[in-house]
Amino acid sequence: MARPSSLRLWFSPARMRAEGTTPDYRFSLANERTFLAWIRTALALVGGGLAADQFLTEMSSPARTTIAAVLVAGGALCAVRAVNHWVRCERAMRRGEDLPPSRFPATLAVATVLAALVVLGVVVFGGPVR
């Protein structure tokens, strides 16, 4: 039987129920909480973009808008990824398979470290804000 893609599972509870057996609901609830944690991360990125746009007033307009747009786009990407990962985890649990591996958390962590280093550099050595 052909396995439905994650995209088709996004919209159809019937397709989801047709996959394997219902797991212990505690695992599904844990998956739901993980989804919500990623949604909050997405909201933090969107909020960070809006805050950067409103409060970095001494920075040049193109630089400020670029930072804000990157953060907001990252937030949207994070929200879409949250649904996709939730669906893939739910399907894996129903089928008794290993949970899907993902590079996204490591990528986000590296991006956060790089952003922190840039901010540290600007604060310590001065930069476009000063």
Binding site: W10, L36, I39, G47, L50, V83
Partner: protein, 87 residues
């Protein structure tokens, strides 16, 4: 609690979005984007409330993929409006 916490986080984003839309603006597009950010927060509140009710019984009902998609869609919608209100 996780849903409630998320609605609070969304409220902060909605406040920032509306503030950005109204701050020194006269553009109708900016006003519309600010209103849509607030609307996406309200939509998220509805999704969260429905799910919180479904979680109330001792054996909670399964979550529907459409609910998750709706929650994420609200965030994506708010992000799209946020892009419009960037200065």
């Amino acid at each position: 609690m996780a849903w409630r916490r998320t609605t609070l986080a969304f409220a902060a984003v909605a406040v920032l979005g509306v503030r950005s839309a109204l701050h020194g603006r006269t553009s109708e597009t900016a006003y519309a984007a600010g209103a849509l950010v607030a609307l996406s927060w309200v939509a998220f509140l509805v999704v969260a409330q429905l799910r919180i009710r479904a979680l109330a019984p001792s054996r909670p009902r399964e979550v529907a993929p459409a609910g998750m998609w709706g929650a994420a869609g609200c965030v994506v919608g708010a992000a799209a409006c946020a892009v419009v209100v960037l200065r």
